[in-house]
């Protein structure tokens, strides 16, 4: 049987699938970041914390609310969470945008980055204080529990992970379609450059910006719900991820929606392969790629030149 550095072809396929799963998370998160950056000119450092928050809200809905209220029937199961949590998070984003971010648009990128960095610390700190560090478990929904044995390649894959790949692709590509293939996209891009002027042309830019931020945060929340059954729901789950996702957005190129999605998936794969063949480097591989890309193609793989 043919083997590559001790990995069977079956093993390789399995590993690629695993990489794709991580890639899906990168894709959803970097998509949200790209939208927010694209429109608000803000590097949403609290994206990771908002992802964490999504997971926590789902967990709270599942296990805590019924206790608070004393109605055991009142739980938000996974399927409801998948819809409700992004909405709740979007609402949260809306509030942040209206009360804080709004004041920063005319300023340098730096301030948005710092504000959201501060928000990230607050959100994480609060969850840390309330629920401790080791985190809580969130069971996968019954329908998706268990694993599918892929006899052909001799491994078993958890059903839930397959679901994650499918649903996140769906969300990513429909988002892409709306933004790039409709007039909305042109507004978004123009609004990024000169919101005041666009407004003077009759576009309700403030609303558009609020909604875009809300949507980005909603996506982070959505990713949080998806992640809850895979990773422990813990206050730091997002901060570990956020720098990598930044790198993904930069590699893909700011301002390109498709770039964010494809790069997310691609880097998930590459990182997965590195874990197999040279795990010691898996934590740097994305940064190395980023440095190379920036030197060769400063605007990123899919970015538009300035």
């Amino acid at each position: 049987m043919f083997e590559l550095l001790g990995i069977t072809p079956q093993g390789l396929v399995a590993q690629l699938l695993v990489g794709l799963i991580n890639g899906s998370f990168y894709a959803i998160l970097s998509l949200g970041l790209a939208i927010i950056f694209g429109l608000l000119n803000i590097i949403n450092f609290s994206h990771g914390a908002q992802y964490t928050m999504g997971a926590f809200v789902a967990w709270i809905g599942l296990t805590q609310i019924s206790q608070w209220l004393g109605f055991p029937e009142l739980t938000m199961n996974y399927w409801f969470a998948l819809i409700l949590v992004p909405l709740i998070m979007a609402g949260f984003g809306l509030i942040l945008e209206r009360t804080m971010l709004r004041r920063l648009y005319h300023l340098d990128h730096l301030y948005g980055l710092l504000l959201t960095f501060g928000l990230a610390l607050i959100i994480e700190g609060l969850f840390r204080d309330w629920y401790g560090i080791s985190g809580e478990s969130y069971p996968a929904p019954e329908l998706l529990q268990g694993a599918i044995p892929l006899e052909a390649i001799g491994i078993i894959l958890p059903k839930y992970r397959i679901w994650v790949v499918v649903i996140s692709m769906l969300v990513c590509f429909s988002t892409w379609f709306v933004i790039e293939r409709t007039k909305l996209g042109a507004y978004l891009r123009a609004g990024t450059e000169n919101p005041k002027l666009l407004q003077a042309f009759g576009v309700n830019v403030p609303l558009m910006i609020s909604l875009a931020y809300a949507y980005g945060v909603g996506l982070a929340g959505f990713a949080g719900v998806l992640a809850a059954p895979i990773f422990q729901v813990n206050p730091l789950m997002g901060s570990n991820l956020i720098i990598i996702v930044f790198a993904v957005v930069v590699i893909g190129g700011m301002g390109s929606i498709m770039g964010a999605i494809l790069t997310g998936l691609g880097l998930g794969l590459i990182e997965g392969l590195t874990k197999v063949f040279y795990p010691e480097a898996s934590s740097v591989v994305i940064f190395v790629i980023m440095a190379i890309v920036l030197l060769l193609r400063p605007a990123g793989l899919f970015g538009r030149e300035k």
């Binding site: 042109a186 507004y187 891009r189 123009a190 990024t192 450059e193 000169n194 005041k196 002027l197 666009l198 407004q199 003077a200 042309f201 009759g202 576009v203 309700n204 830019v205 403030p206 301002g255 538009r304 300035k306």
Partner: protein
């Protein structure tokens, strides 16, 4: 008898701390073309920006087609039927020329079609897929003008539209503006180029230090030539 398209009373305006307009008054009837003349820094561009709420603070009264707009956000003012061609052109770099053209929402029926526009500015047709800010200075100027013609806005605020254009184009633009006036558009023109403006306008307002200091009707041009010369050095 046409009503007032624009009526401005005691308009004041600020950029941050600096107070630029100190009580501007004038009114434009529907279908009229007026110009704002003045030296550099007199505050003409600021008047247009203030009408659209683009300065940091404003006070007084601005009625657009009879609606008080002083407390409205920019986009609602625009939707009353105001088209604005800014001094710095404001072409969007991340959009292609054609996207720039198509970007502005139609705020009223009766805008020009894309074909008419391309016929008017063939340069734009040729460069339609090029990123907006890669156009030459003059081409950007044409684009900025062209895109508001699509929207159906009836009150046009045009800031130095002949700036940086070749004489042929200036000439053509003169014809375009005259045509627009004849089709019933109301136009406020900020111009440096008095020769361009003089034959077009029904009335000229001279702006100095953030106030309207003189009104010159078309009929009075000859009489007030020395006065104008004093104000503008024409």
């Amino acid at each position: 008898m046409s009503g007032l398209a624009l009526e401005i009373q005691n308009l004041e305006s600020w950029y941050g701390e600096s107070h630029i307009l100190h009580g501007v008054n004038f009114a434009v009837k529907e279908g009229e073309l007026v110009t704002l003349l003045g030296r550099n820094g007199a505050g003409r561009s600021t008047i247009l920006k203030t009408i659209l709420g683009l300065t940091s603070k404003r006070a007084g009264s601005i009625k657009v087609l009879g609606n008080e707009t002083i407390h409205l956000p920019s986009y609602q003012i625009a939707r009353l039927g105001v088209g604005y061609c800014p001094e710095e052109r404001g072409i969007f770099a991340s959009l292609s020329t054609e996207e720039n053209l198509l970007l502005l929402p139609e705020i009223a029926p009766g805008g020009m079609g894309l074909d008419d526009i391309y016929a008017m500015f063939p340069n734009l047709y040729e460069r339609r897929h090029s990123p907006g800010t890669r156009l030459s200075g003059g081409e950007q100027q044409m684009l900025a003008m062209a895109r508001i013609l699509r929207t159906g806005a009836k009150l046009l605020l045009l800031d130095e539209i002949t700036e940086g254009l070749a004489p042929v184009i200036v000439q053509k633009l003169g014809e375009v503006v005259a045509g627009l006036r004849d089709r019933g558009f109301t136009i406020v023109l900020v111009e440096q180029n008095f020769r361009f403006a003089a034959p077009l306008a029904d009335r000229h307002y001279v702006v100095e230090h953030g106030r309207v200091v003189e009104v010159v009707n078309r009929s009075e041009l000859a009489d007030k030539a020395t006065l104008l010369n004093e104000y503008l050095g024409v």
